[in-house]
């Protein structure tokens, strides 16, 4: 399996990359290559121009600005997996990254590549939905900032224009005592999840749920944030009953079917995994509030 011929460019700056992307039709950006290269090897994707972003240092790295974690789009999944700042501020990301492919693919794969590929089951897409992250894009026409919901256009599709490059993803961490959990079910370690669920919980001084977030992947073309479940949790005691009620709402979200897994099975997984991530997040929130 070999890719069809293409012209290759490895610009050293974002401005140069934007100019190349604006100038060429049927061009693709190469980030970590862990999804694009297989598609090119199969000739599912046959770009005439391949613009490699790996030589642009300004696109990689993790920074903190105004209390938010900002990931350059070319930051490798590996760097996020082993970052002490991420461990401190957003530990759920590292829990989720353990499910992303394998060591060899995380060494190359990037956060921006994963978001632009926008697989409905991708863990980093799920987390960006969970946090309601913001995405920065740049083209020769200028810069813009998108909320996750505006970025999420549909199945494997972001709302970026053909001449735009994703440059960064920003997530706003919760308080240091928040509870968190990420769980998914896949047939084999490293496979795409059938359904994945993530949760963040903050407890008030009386032990009630002050704030909750949930994101579910594998049900529809983009991650779901079950508003009804979150509304039920707001102000509730973190009990098994409260979590089950929230999970039952999550299990009612419309789900897709494919040749392997029915919609009903995915909804069942949504219910079970939502309950489990809420229980685990609550346990951790309780532990961290007494720590």
């Amino acid at each position: 399996m070999k890719p069809a011929p293409f012209a290759y460019y490895d610009p050293a700056s974002l401005a140069e990359a934007s100019a190349l992307l604006a100038r060429h039709d049927n061009a693709r950006l190469l980030a970590g290559g862990q999804s694009l290269m297989p598609m090119m090897n199969f000739r599912y994707v046959t770009p005439d121009h391949l613009i490699d972003l790996n030589k642009i240092p300004s696109l990689a790295g993790i920074g903190i600005a105004d209390g938010a974690l900002r990931f350059g789009a070319m930051t490798r999944q590996r760097e996020i997996e082993f970052s002490s700042e991420v461990a401190r501020l957003c530990p759920v990301i590292q829990e989720a990254l353990a499910h992303v492919g394998h060591r060899q693919t995380r060494n190359r794969g990037t956060i921006g590549g994963s978001l632009c590929h926008f697989d409905p089951a991708a863990e980093l897409v799920n987390l960006t939905a969970l946090y309601g992250g913001t995405l920065e894009a740049e083209s020769v026409r200028g810069k813009r900032v998108l909320a996750f919901d505006a970025f999420a256009a549909g199945f494997m599709t972001s709302s970026l224009e053909p001449d735009e490059i994703l440059t960064a993803v920003t997530l706003k961490p919760w308080g240091l005592r928040h509870g968190y959990a990420f769980l998914e079910l896949a047939r084999r370690h490293g496979d795409f999840a059938i359904v994945a669920a993530s949760a963040l919980l903050e407890l008030d001084p009386r032990g009630r749920i002050a704030r909750a977030a949930l994101a579910l992947s594998g049900l529809g073309p983009v991650p779901a944030r079950p508003e009804k479940s979150i509304a039920l949790l707001q102000g509730a005691e973190p009990t098994r009953e409260a979590f089950l009620a929230a999970a039952e709402e999550a299990g009612k979200i419309e789900a897709m079917s494919d040749a392997y897994y029915s919609a009903a099975y995915r909804q069942h997984l949504a219910l079970v995994l939502t309950r489990r991530v809420l229980e685990q997040a609550a346990r951790r929130a309780a532990e961290r509030s007494t720590a």
Partner: protein, 168 residues
């Protein structure tokens, strides 16, 4: 721009200068252009892990990289894991000892992956080894002897100690 590019790549400590078409994979470059056929190609779409090499010290699937991306970079293949005198590295010895290969097709990729693991986690437990090996498919052994070999190699290593060439 589809024409060939001149690239300089350091593989196992030797610098090679060659011309490469942009679509040439790093794996094919290693095998066909440099005749380093120790790196095996199984699926050619990033699933089997047979083509794993160390790219600037980190394991990566060479079927998912382009030769032109290796310009100016350092690569270690299975040929670079053993000492120059042709003897086996401690990890390779352990694979021999524990019969951790049968057909041997997946072995080069597994050795490269585990070499990186042992550099970063000198005393991995069985779960860590299994997780690490999830990216390498082996259809012969059932993995058990491979895990035993990695545990054996790890037990023989002083944490953080490598030989003079940085081999584990």
């Amino acid at each position: 721009m589809t024409q060939k590019r001149r690239i300089a790549v350091t593989v196992n400590g030797t610098r090679y200068e060659r011309e490469a078409e942009p679509r040439l994979s790093l794996a094919d470059f290693l095998r066909h252009d440099l005749h380093l056929t120790g790196t095996h190609l199984g699926c050619e779409h990033g699933v089997c892990g047979a083509c794993t090499v160390l790219f600037n010290g980190h394991s990566a699937r060479s079927c998912l990289m382009l030769a032109v991306q290796a310009d100016g970079q350092e690569i270690t293949t299975v040929e670079g894991l053993s000492p120059a005198d042709g003897s086996l590295s401690p990890l390779q010895e352990a694979f021999h000892e524990k019969h951790a290969l049968q057909c041997g097709f997946c072995t080069p990729g597994i050795l490269c992956t585990v070499t990186e693991l042992l550099r970063e986690v000198p005393r991995p437990d069985e779960t860590q080894i299994r997780e690490c090996l999830s990216g390498n498919l082996c259809r012969c052994t059932g993995y058990q002897p491979i895990i035993e070999a990695v545990l054996l190699a790890a037990s023989q290593l002083e944490p953080g100690i490598k030989d003079e060439d940085g081999r584990v």
